[in-house]
Assembly symmetry: C2
Homo-oligomer: 163 residues x 2
Amino acid sequence: MVRENEIRRGEIAVAAPPPDDAGLVFIGVIHTPWTSRLMTPRMGRADGPLCRIEVHEPWREALSGVEQFERLEVLYWLHLSRRDLVRQSPADDGSTRGTFALRSPARPNPIGTTIATLVGVQGPTLLVRGMDCLDGTPLLDIKPDRTLFRPIAPPQPGDFETG
Amino acid sequence: MVRENEIRRGEIAVAAPPPDDAGLVFIGVIHTPWTSRLMTPRMGRADGPLCRIEVHEPWREALSGVEQFERLEVLYWLHLSRRDLVRQSPADDGSTRGTFALRSPARPNPIGTTIATLVGVQGPTLLVRGMDCLDGTPLLDIKPDRTLFRPIAPPQPGDFETG
């Protein structure tokens, strides 16, 4: 796994505090064509391969209504990523950049986000394009694309504040 | 707190499994003008009030390079939200919709995401607009807006796959 978890020239890892400030529940699993981190796309593409997002019980009822959104924001857990890098060298050429200026999977909280195109809904399974993660990646959340969603709840004072 | 955590007519809560599949570390804190959930915007706006994202050690070095991005994707932990609703009634009118068809803060993994406009960087603090969360909200991650970021790492086979 040398190409996957090694530290490259110039990169900086820190002694990270324990990740126990809050806990996540895996609510499903994402099926993609990619079984190795050396094969996955760096970033998903809207015309990428068809992938399946399978939602587990007791969360399946929460899918009711997703079919009306052409695009969904999907959050997933990058379970193989290291979490201690503050500077990274994506090109492995000695030049580095801070983790928050990269979309690398190595992050203090390795949460991947993508905008997926919804192709179809089959019971508890969403058919989507635009994923970039490994087959078997744990699912964390599904939300309507923010540009397609209008809040249903009545506005609150903050909705009118500018500055 | 009746308007904040009650169950409304038609809503469905489930017996949720324990949230211990993975753990999060809070890497900073977000300062906003809103101290009550009854005041926060439903969704952030690009011309909203100036807010401060404060990154804690040992993650400050990871900010290096963020100043080159006009917009950042910010992930935060909606620490007051309930996590067991599968159907919700945002308008409290008896009509409901599945959680994954809403951007409500109540979700199995209450992770908020927004696209913030970066106004400035002051050491470990980012000045941004576009937030919609409570003052004191724990920070989970900062990434370049996906539409502004081009991967630096060499492409992988998945980058060329369509279907």
